[in-house]
């Protein structure tokens, strides 16, 4: 693992996610920005091998016979590319937090590195691991909604309503800093999740968008609220709202999709429920593990219905499928095929395009920008 030391949030999530299905053992890390902090975190977590930097780690692990097979990169965004390239170049599989990178240049360099490596690159768009999201995707593929017309995606939070970044909250500091986050603030941090999920579930691609980004927080340069209108290839239309200044919203990621035959609604905070309305019939509540769950949902479900699975289990599914994919590649499978529905470099580049298009559009007063 690179990043994820004591102060970090997402590192701990990755570690639990990796353990749940018992497919990984964490044996090495460069967990912090200094050797001392890294070593302290590694010791606290019981990780045998601690390195001073990701570069040292990549080199040393590649040289060991029992070196790591895969690495998790859970640093702030601006470190993703360099770290990932170091491991990919040595054939070590990479599981990387999103968004892909902080700049388009980095993203393109990383894209190239992925293309040149034999190793897999998995991007943890973890919400795609929720069983009811898999269910929704499969239902749309099966035509249950007919032709898709409308996509409403939103991801509001409220934690930046007041200027937390000036009050010593490390999470807020780097997320509001363009150097570490990139050109998008809220739109990069969570708007990309909403965009990714909308595309994953519907199978559609955004053709162009018009965005109106705002920075409501005093002294903030990056957006903390984003309004986006979407036009998808093929004619569907959508709206996307992401916000970090909407009091009363914790992680209220929500997706609604409507076609000429039916509609679907899903909320991340109540992830075991999927609402399906075949047009002209009563709304139905499909539950994870329940009688309406399809094969796609059941395949990534661990326990019976009514016993809620949550965020960590959805995240674990990405890790579990990454393990499958790694084994498959090790056994000679084609990389693309081995990835299956796992998000990777393509989704990462798509997210970068989304961020860039939002920022470009917004600076040109919300004109339509192609992705």
């Amino acid at each position: 693992m690179v990043g994820g030391g004591n102060d970090a949030f997402i590192g701990g999530v990755h570690r639990i996610a990796a353990r749940i299905d018992d497919r990984y053992e964490l044996v090495a890390g460069a967990l912090s920005s200094t050797p001392e902090k890294s070593a302290a975190s590694a010791k606290a977590l019981g990780i045998p091998r601690s390195y001073a930097s990701f570069a040292e780690m990549a080199e040393a692990e590649a040289a060991r016979e029992d070196g790591i097979e895969a690495v998790s990169i859970v640093t702030p965004n601006h470190v993703h590319a360099a770290a990932a390239k170091a491991f990919l170049a040595r054939g070590i599989h990479v599981i990387c937090d999103k968004p892909l990178t902080s700049t388009m240049d980095d993203a393109e360099a990383l894209e190239k590195a992925v293309a040149e490596s034999d190793a897999l690159f998995v991007l943890t768009h973890n919400y795609t691991g929720y069983p009811m999201i898999r269910q929704a995707r499969a239902m749309i593929q099966a035509g249950d909604l007919g032709e898709i017309r409308i996509v409403q995606a939103e991801y509001p939070q409220d934690w930046l309503t007041s200027p937390m970044e000036t009050e010593g909250l490390k999470q807020a500091e780097w997320r509001t800093d363009p150097k570490r986050s990139g050109a998008g603030g809220c739109v990069g941090d969570i708007g990309t999740h909403a965009h990714n999920l909308a595309c994953f579930v519907t199978g559609l691609t955004v053709e162009k968008l018009a965005a109106d980004l705002q920075a409501f927080g005093t002294g903030r340069t990056l957006d903390d609220n984003a309004h986006v209108m979407l036009r998808f290839v093929g004619g569907a239309r959508g709206m996307l709202w992401s916000s970090q200044v909407a009091p009363g919203n914790e992680n209220a990621l929500k997706l609604r999709v409507y076609g000429d035959k039916g509609g679907l609604e899903w909320r991340q905070e109540d992830p075991n429920y999927l609402w399906f309305t075949p047009h002209g019939e009563p709304k139905r509540l499909i539950t994870r593990g329940g009688s309406g769950a399809n094969d796609a949902a059941s395949a990534v479900s661990r326990i019976p219905s009514g016993h809620p699975e949550g965020y960590l289990e959805g995240f674990a599914t990405i890790y579990n499928e990454a393990a499958d994919a790694i084994r498959a590649v090790q056994n000679g499978a084609d990389r693309a095929q081995a990835m299956g529905v796992l998000p990777g470099i393509v989704e990462g580049m798509s997210g970068m395009s989304f961020i860039n298009a939002c920022v470009s559009s917004s600076s040109a007063d919300a004109i339509w920008v192609n992705l």
Copy 2:
């Protein structure tokens, strides 16, 4: 009453609304497009005086000593202006269904007629009559949300998902016909409700908007889905979605408002609940009639909490307050003051501007258009 014959939906609603608080007696009508149908409807409803047309009715009632004091106009949109002018010119108060008219020319003529008349003109933006909407407005006025930053308004329906207008449904026919509805389809029929409610609750005015309207239904010329980005005077931003092709939505009007001190959420389908989150505290459920209800809510509430009031009661509040306003004016009060929070010509013109701006913006590929 003008319009509201046997086939109509909204006429019956107006009649019940007028009865609930026992302030009106319905004694005359021109209920349909032909004298025979009008007479038949009047007879069925036990209305003593039936007229062949609104013109005849206005003239005859104005001439009677016991003539009507006020008239309800519940026709399709394109008739509103002419009918209203006929009564206003004779000093008869008008309660008119929304939107104001089908064309801007008609709207301006009507605006002039209202200005020249001593009678009141009330527009039934009925959702403003819900107690929890009054509560929300008063809370925002009192500063409970701080400075407003974000407004999310939506009004999705699903009844036009399939082409009902080609299957003999009268309601669908005139609503999808530009001659009778005006330039806006869905955006005029229900988008105006969302726009009106957002402004009513926040006290804000839309400065400009960018709209992307679609007509998904085969052969439809008017929009049946509308995506709109909003910029309010003073800096708040918003999004508005209205749709008639979103399966699983009946009348899912929803308003969410966020300021730097808190957030509010309200859904028309569950109108007795208002969700309030003071930033940094748990969400609270304020109920109509409950311990958190303020004076503004209590003033328009009839029964105790936990016994739901609904759409008809909210509508009745408009009628009840219109009766108050009429009595006040009859007793010499100033017209504007008598109107209080009642929606009238100002709100009607604002709605027309909203429709026109949406249509203009959309035809210019969603550029920003001032209201």
Copy 3:
């Protein structure tokens, strides 16, 4: 109208309910306990004829050619029987608030009076007027749930959590006074509603019950919380909870019914929704006016789905059907047939039996008592 003067709650509800469907004109009343108060209330409400007492009213109205056809009795419970008998004896139809009376003796006398009169006796178990309750009843009759096994009924409130009756609240005073309420407190006031609704919807009859009543409020002699186990004729079992001391519950009447083929759930506070689960299939949300609504629901529904009807509309349905029944009887129909599904003396006696059985069982330490 008898009772329902200025201080009362339920009188106003009856008056609105009677107006909604335009079937009644309120022309006479004995609204309060003194002639002066009665006259003042009548004047305030615009009721032409005010009487000093129900006895005087019954006599005088019966003597008038244009005397009332029907009377609403909305007094505290202990007045119901005497008032109802006075009108029934003179052939005037009675619409009476529930529960039937305050004592079994009164109830039996009233039962006799109903039997001897040609007039109708309607008891306003108003919750039976909700469209989704009609829907549920029809679905169970049609076998959609299979054989009924379990009935869970509850009606918790919280308004007597603190001793309101000692703080001058008139509503609380008479409800906690055995002389005016009868032997049951909470169980009579609202437990009867839950019992009535359970029987109405399932078509079942309670065979025996075991009750544990409590009076938690200091100095209270009547129960303010009731736990009841039910055995229905035919083998179904149930539980009933009613409470007036459960903080957070306004009028949280809820009914759940389970058979060997499916289950139904309904909540009075969200009355436009009915949840139906055919065993082994996803839960469905049936809405008033929506695509899943059956004829029984549609027959008592006024406006489209998504525009909520509430408590007053459900109450109005009882008044509307009472008007139908009165007209039918006036036209020679059989009384029982004319009543249709309207609650009357049978339901009133059943409610009295329920109260008495609860009180008897509880005083004998919750032994089973036959109804």
Copy 4:
């Protein structure tokens, strides 16, 4: 681990729960009823040491220097006692699935074995591990609800609505078999969870109960539905409903507690939410990790609010705290103190008493039975 072979459900849950917080390594097992099956399951799970029986395992592991420190027992109920005694007798800590045993004799023998051992005995009443349950318990201890008056506990399921035990479902077979389950069916399997949770959260003890158990499923001898009235030491009253034949309920465990100062409501299927109503104020939604979460909740919470934790995380908390307790005891701490809020033999005996009292009461026509 004892039990938990390939066919079992709860074994897998225990294994994931043990991994989540990285406190356990699974190194030995007697996973099935035959040596062959056990070995096959152990191999599939990558467990190094497989034994033919729990007896063999206890003996062998106790003899090893690197033998197991603790064992999980996840067999059907009738095996719990014998297996637990074998390990306790050798000083190996036991984590045992609930209910305690299938007979009172076994329970008492086990109680004795626990008393005589130095090892810990933890019973996985896993629902006590949910953060919002810890929050509720702490709030009640702090007096936020005032004096507790009413406890409503329920745990309905629907999976035995049809006779699954005759259709080859192993889970259903042993649960409906008195020899393996004990005297209680549904009341033992899930009623005990509701009972345990009610006591855990309120801190109250049931003094006596009256129960009406039913077996609705054809040919079923054990109850599949249970109605229970409760009287707590100190005067609070309650009701408990557990069912396995209520269509539309998956694992709808729900607890509601009301005192003279406020009320709390919690649902297992939406475990991150706790509803709190201080009497006379609006209802509040307290969320896991949100601004209203107290220390007791935060102590067992892993990720931020709005990212749902679920059933497995609640279960993992029991395992995590068991690891803490084991380390504490190994470091010389007092056993009782080390257990903290962990459920153990006391809770197990209490559950057995509850089952026995329910069965006794019901066979005597629901008379009150002391616990």
